[in-house]
Symmetry: C2
DNA sequence: TGACTTCGTGTTTATTATACACTTTAATAT
DNA sequence: ATATTAAAGTGTATAATAAACACGAAGTCA
């Protein structure tokens, strides 16, 4: 059913930069395009915004449709609106960035032609998606240093070393173990569990979980979480 | 000339939150609407994005058309896309925030039915513009503490006391004079001028200007400017 | 020339960040 | 059982930064 307007209108899309962490490197989830333009090229998951859904809803819907992921940390990033970013017609894209835990990762990747890529070894991307990705990376780095969003990238139970590896991967620098642990624990957001994480012939590591209640409380005060 | 599409499309607009500083309070520039909906209500300057212009261009164009302002600091803020934010039809708005110097202020206000309001004493606004404004305020506060954008709100020549008053107005707290000056000067971004600012029966104040060259250099390094 | 008002300045103390190395603990191999 | 292995876990001294705080200087105006 066609729709007619007095003036030409841009098409509106959402694109999601989905970050994951495999324990060593920061990863991005990409899907292989099936149609022109940029057929067979890797691209960010995304698609057209429907006229009766919010932008956030559109991002969540497209993410689930194309990757199987749901209930993830999702936040609006930036809106990309240069005139020629899509060769067909004017398309404005509201970009989102998402953080997913390793659990969600394996469940999702077999749902579609989606694949994780290390951010340090990316293929050529469709449209201006490399710019969107770069913007998302900058935002992630910035955010990580003042908000405890790292937990969104780790399993529900994690060790302090895993948390440190994540920070090191995202920030691109090595951190001092003792200072990191001091700082991370000082916010009182990590709850030690009774369990330990045994892996290999060495001392097992204490497992922690994140305290979402204290997190919400701190968030209202406009807190910081600087590492 | 009508334009037809296979699926319904949202209309795309830009809205600008323009901040100014009168020496005492933080101000926002609003325009009075001439048409329905929300006729006679105050609203953020803004309008429809043309299909052949970028979002940034649209924001600058609308800002100049409605307020006479040009060559201002302008930065994309957030995109507002709830379904019913405009009672007529689906309208997605890319919000921008702008900072203008007092010089531009007086030149602009008589250009249209635009008026400055103190952020602590706002009228009822059209659409969801009060939400956009709140988002902009939060962003301004956050940004001001780590980037030297305060200069965008001051005249080319300013005193340290003026700069401090601005920070106090935006952050909503009083700052220590000596510590503030120490910090502000430590970044080496303020150039003392030969002139002094004489006003009233007391010691005249040293005038400074902002050093844009050093600013650009620092920006590339990903610097901070914390007060 | 004295009153008034804002400008401009330095030091001490508290807090936070940084640098740095050895003991503990469990699994595994012998 | 004992030795080996490898990561876990921990404390202190020093440097850097932030915070608290008060008074003389420089002009105008009566």
């Amino acid at each position: 059913m066609p729709h007619t307007y007095e003036y030409p209108r841009a098409a509106l899309t959402v694109d999601c930069v989905v970050f994951g962490f495999d324990g060593g490197e920061l990863q991005v989830l990409l899907i292989r395009r099936g149609q022109e333009p940029f057929r067979y090229r890797w691209a960010l998951p995304g698609g057209f915004v429907r006229v009766e859904e919010t932008l956030d809803d559109a991002a969540r819907r497209e993410l689930e449709e194309e990757t199987g992921l749901r209930d993830v940390f999702l936040e609006q990033l930036y809106t990309f609106g240069t005139v020629k970013r899509d060769p067909r017609e004017r398309v404005v894209s509201v970009a989102y960035f998402a953080l997913v835990k390793p659990g969600a990762v394996t469940a999702a990747t077999d749902a579609a032609e989606a694949k994780w890529f290390s951010v340090s070894d990316l293929p050529s991307l469709a449209f201006d998606h490399i710019d969107i990705l770069a913007t998302a990376l900058t935002r992630l780095r910035g955010k990580l240093t003042y908000q405890p969003i790292g937990f969104e990238l780790l399993p529900p139970k994690f060790t302090l070393t895993q948390l440190q590896r994540l920070y090191e991967a995202v920030l691109g620098e090595l951190l001092d173990k003792r200072n990191f642990r001091k700082k991370a624990l000082s916010y009182d957001l990590l709850i030690p569990l009774k369990e330990k994480h045994q892996e290999g012939p060495h001392r097992p590591a204490q497992l922690f979980r994140f305290d979402p209640v204290k997190y919400e409380r701190l968030k209202k005060k406009g807190f910081l979480f600087e590492i």
